[in-house]
Amino acid sequence: MSAKRVRSLMIHLLMAVVILAACAPAATEAPPAATEPPAVADTELNVLCTPQEQWCQGMKQEFEAKYGITVNYVRMSSGEALARVQAEKDNPQFDIWWGGPIDSFVAAKGEGLLEPYDSPNFANLTDPAKMKDADNQWVGVYVGTLGFATNTDWLAANPGVEAPTSWDDLLKPEFTGQVMVAHPSSSGTSYTALATVLQLRGEEAGWEYLQKYAGQVSQFTKSGAAPAKFVGQGEAAVAIVFSHDIVNEIENNKLPLELTFPEEGTGYEIGGMGILKGAKHMQAAKLWYDWALTPEAQSLGPTYAAYQAPTVKGVELSHPELLEVNLIDYDFIWAGEHKQEFVDKFTNEIAGADNLKE
């Protein structure tokens, strides 16, 4: 082939491609057909997930199997999640935030980070007055009560000591340096404990108590559920954790733990859910929101080692005894609104300075 022919061939080829390219915009990619009932164009959903990894993964798979939408999730503790949502305010990477104590959602609402959504499934809620936001910015998806987990091996090795059954028991000398709890700044669990004490005793006596209680703590962890594990392994004697996490450690990980509740009343959490303002997959987020409020979705927990109680009607409780305890009338709005202030106070006055003296 002569050079000239190659040249003319090249020119023709290039021109052909140019013309093709010029025509191409007409053939823009058609939106993929929705796979299942509701016509949703989104094929992906980015979930910010706060409960345990196993449950997040389970919910992801169930949702994917049902709706054919791929779920990307990342698990973060509630403080971390709130920090992330704040940082990405102008350019949100997540569509929906599922799980984690409601006070983080109250805080997020206060900063205008959540998108209101009036779900048709609000009708399923057992207690709509308490379980959802007045402006529909968040809703409760599970309930869990706070309990104490005590290592039974440690109890056997220390005859005469009994598992704590009141907040005052934690201050006993035998538990000095043996209590483990997460840090309220990063963990919703620990903040629930802090707010419970403040509500039980009033602010002044409450802070006095917290001062003493921090002196009993061997280590503050980052994640709320971790102390149960550490105590089960014998790193300390008593953990302050949500009771459903304790059940999980006893039943699935066979840790030697005993579950007790404080007699004078214990706090509880409502695990929240909210759509983030500016979500890029809004339709899919609403689909998840509706789905998460169905009895079907809420009965999945125990399959994935999550024993939290549901917030909707028509779900059989896996562990009803966790709710049959003396519950305080926990004020979520008050706790949420004061979160920043209380956490700052705790960090700066108690766990920041005092504990360092050892």
Binding site: T70, A83, R84, E88, Q93, F94, S186, A225, K229, N253
Partner: protein, 754 residues
């Protein structure tokens, strides 16, 4: 780039300097490859190193409302917050100091044993000493807790200790220093080993023949000669220890150090101002130590690197000393093996501390729920690796072989990204790339465009036309709707290909331009390619394979949909290479305008540099962290190549680019490959810089380990750690085999330059 800033303050005094600079500038300008490398590495370092760091540390001075606020610094001096903050600062310094002392000491034992004492199984010793560099940053903290924690295998099962309140356990500064010593001693070992090997034995021989005793020789000859190495490794370890985040988070107990304080300020209190203020407090000692190391210790090296053999190595003759060193080294080795074996064992036991029954349940969790994180991490690390090694080599080449003003700054700042604590970089990345100022895009584009017209245009009038018309057309294009504009831009490259072909008959250039056009258009087709794969993943049963296949569809999108603002930088350089050779003035003008308008449109599409949440920001963080090592590897190997070889090529008519390709590159290939290995390792194991950058789509294993550890338990964390170590080792073996094939018979890869 920097030279343009040299504006004289008083013309009379600086006149000579100015002419020199001007001449230098025009010389650089005459060598576009040099100028291009300079501009490229300069922009990269400015955008991804200097800007984020400056943004972080300046954030401490401003409150949320943007007013000047020194509250967080003042807290160090009041009586309320002061004691706690000062204690944390003091603890940080004590930690750094102790880690540096012990790490250097252990490193010295290893280096002395390996070089002078001729230990049996010397290479085993060498590889074991390097093992801590390939493991995730907190793997050792994990295993120390498994062994010596309150329910540790040794403390509880073997020794039967039951911890009571107040008893000293592994948590705290002592445990932290132990873990950091083992984690970082490899650095000291490598530095001191290189030094010992290069010591000129004649001095010691002279002392010995003068009847000096062994101790006397060591005290007065050997040790003084080693002082630069000892000081250097001491300072490096100090810096590494301050920057460490993973270990303090887990093993510091109730002590807090600055790096974990910063981390908690962000994730716990969502207080970026406080985090920034603490960052500044942490970065000051880091920078001081780093500068001392670079500019004082390195200059005082008594070792002359002549490349000439300096006679036989001295070996230790006294059996007592020899075996003392060997046994000490072997004991430490045994400890290292024990620690790593524990991690593997931990990943297989049912519930550590309670039930040691072997089980695969943690591994099955890792391969189902962890598969996304594992694939993403490996993919992004691998993709960033060649780029990091390449950039490192370019910077090394500039630093060693070229002379220009601002060279020191380039060298220093390329090292800075790896030396500052990763959390500081991570915070800076979020602050800068979440809602980037338009000025950033304008500055980057402006610099590139000016450079472009200087190279492409032949006279001032032509340059001005190119700049103005190209930019205007580009800005107009940028306003079009996204799908359309990609087709249009791709089409313009095809047009450019035709112009090139018609005017210069250069087949290669026109085909390159056409391919570039197709690549730009393929941004629109990415979904068409990825969608069927994603749909397929949704159609099969949920589990390992569906997750893995879905991730694959995401990886395709990463390859063909880079952020436009980053692609634009490469396109400008591509444009120069394409258009530069055009002789015909009209063709040059038309082609030149096209080749500038396209990147210009790319630069200002969507929100330029809004990278948060994507894959590229994680890769950028990876590259920044591994850059110092690849630069060092490059510098070390370039310094050993005599410039006269390159000069010969220049004299014979090869330009800079030809010389680099045909002469320098083959000679530095071993270092390049060592750089690849090291970069990949560093990417796979980095935690602190990327912890704030993970997103739902892009999860990174090290961050998962952190979350799983406290949540799912140590065994899953151990399984993840084992997996990372395995993946890194596999990559090293593969690269080694490839290299040995490539470099048949030539000098192998020497990993010990790091």
């Amino acid at each position: 780039m920097k030279t343009t800033l040299a504006i004289p303050k008083s013309p009379k005094v600086q006149f000579v300097g100015v002419t020199r600079r001007f001449r230098e500038f025009s010389l650089i300008f005459r060598d576009p490859v040099l100028f291009m490398s300079l501009l490229f590495s300069g922009i990269f370092i400015f955008v991804f190193v200097l800007l984020p760091i400056l943004r972080t540390i300046s954030g401490g001075f401003f409150s949320e409302e943007g007013t000047l606020d020194l509250a967080y610094f003042a807290r160090y001096f009041d009586s309320f917050y002061g004691p706690g903050l000062r204690q944390a600062f003091l603890d940080t310094m004590v930690m750094g100091l102790l880690t540096a002392i012990f790490g250097t000491f252990v490193g010295f034992i290893f280096a002395y044993a390996s070089v002078r004492c001729n230990p049996p199984a010397k290479s085993l010793l060498h590889w074991l000493a390097l093992l801590p560099t390939v493991s995730p940053p907190f793997a050792l903290a994990l295993s120390v807790i498994l062994l010596f924690g309150r329910s540790g295998l040794i403390t509880k099962k073997v020794l039967g200790i039951n911890f009571v309140a107040g008893q000293n356990d592994i948590y705290g500064l002592d445990g932290l220093v132990l873990v950091q010593t083992i984690t970082f001693f490899s650095v000291a070992y490598l530095i001191l080993r290189a030094m010992l090997e290069r010591l000129n034995p004649s001095m010691e021989e002279a002392a010995a023949s003068l009847r000096a005793s062994r101790w006397h020789i060591f005290r007065t000859v050997t040790f003084p000669l080693l002082i630069p190495g000892v000081a250097g490794s001491f300072l490096l370890l100090f810096v590494e220890s301050l920057a460490d985040l993973g270990n303090p988070l887990f093993i510091a107990g109730n002590r807090t150090v600055l790096s974990s304080q910063i981390f908690l300020a962000v994730i716990g209190e969502y207080d970026y101002q406080k985090a920034s203020a603490l960052s500044l407090i942490l970065i000051i000692p880091t920078l001081i130590l780093f500068m001392i190391q670079r500019y004082y210790v390195n200059r005082r090296s008594y070792i002359s690197v002549t490349g000439k053999p300096s006679g036989a190595q001295v070996t230790e003759k006294d059996p007592v000393i020899r075996w003392a060193f060997n046994i000490a080294a072997y004991l430490i080795c045994a400890f290292v093996i024990l620690l790593y074996a524990t991690i593997v064992y931990g990943s297989f036991s049912f519930s550590w501390g309670v039930d040691f029954t072997p089980t695969l349940r943690h591994w099955s969790m890792v391969v189902t729920r962890g598969v996304e994180a594992i694939l993403d991490t490996t993919f992004l690390s691998a993709l960033a690796t060649p780029f990091a090694a390449f950039l490192g080599m370019v910077i090394a080449w500039l630093v060693v072989r070229k002379n220009f003003s601002g060279k020191e700054i380039l060298d220093f700042s390329s090292n800075l990204g790896g030396a500052v604590p990763g959390t500081i970089l991570g915070i800076g990345f979020i602050l800068v790339f979440n809602k980037p100022p338009l000025a950033l895009a304008v500055i980057v584009y402006g610099l590139l465009a000016i450079f472009y017209v200087l190279v492409v245009g032949r006279d001032t009038r032509e340059r001005l036309i190119l700049l103005l018309v190209g930019t205007t057309v580009g800005l107009l294009l940028a306003r079009l709707e996204a799908t359309r504009v990609h087709y249009l831009l791709g089409g313009l490259y095809l047009l450019l290909g035709m112009i090139l072909f018609l005017s210069s008959k250069n087949m290669f250039m026109s085909i390159s331009s056409a391919l570039l056009g197709l690549y730009v258009m393929s941004t629109n087709w990415a979904n068409a390619i990825a969608q069927p794969i994603a749909n397929f993943s949704r159609s099969i049963e949920r589990g390992f394979w569906s997750n893995a296949i879905f991730q694959f569809s995401d990886h395709i999108k990463v390859l063909i949909q880079p952020p436009p603002s980053l692609l634009a930088i490469l396109l400008i350089f591509a444009g120069i290479l394409l258009v530069q050779g055009l002789k015909h003035p009209l063709a040059r003008l038309a082609g030149g305008i096209l080749a500038l308008a396209i990147p210009c449109a790319m630069s200002f599409m969507e929100i330029p540099f809004a990278l948060v949440g994507g894959a590229y920001i994680i890769m950028a963080a990876f590259v920044i962290r591994s850059l110092p090592a690849s630069v060092r590897a490059g510098v070390a190997s370039l310094q050993q190549i005599d410039p006269s070889i390159e000069e010969a090529s220049n004299i014979l008519g090869g330009d800079a680019q030809y010389t680099f390709r045909k002469v320098t590159l083959p000679l530095i290939l071993p270092a390049l490959i060592a750089g690849l290995i090291f970069s990949f390792t560093r990417h796979m194991t980095s935690l602190s810089a990327i912890i704030f950058l993970v997103s739902a789509k892009w999860r990174i294993v090290t961050a998962s380990i952190l979350s799983e550890w406290e949540q799912g338990g140590v065994s899953i964390a151990a399984a993840y750690s084992t997996l990372i170590i395995l993946l890194v080792l596999i990559a090293i073996v593969i690269l080694n085999i490839v290299t040995n094939r490539l470099l048949r018979g030539r000098e192998g890869v020497d990993l010990s330059q790091f």
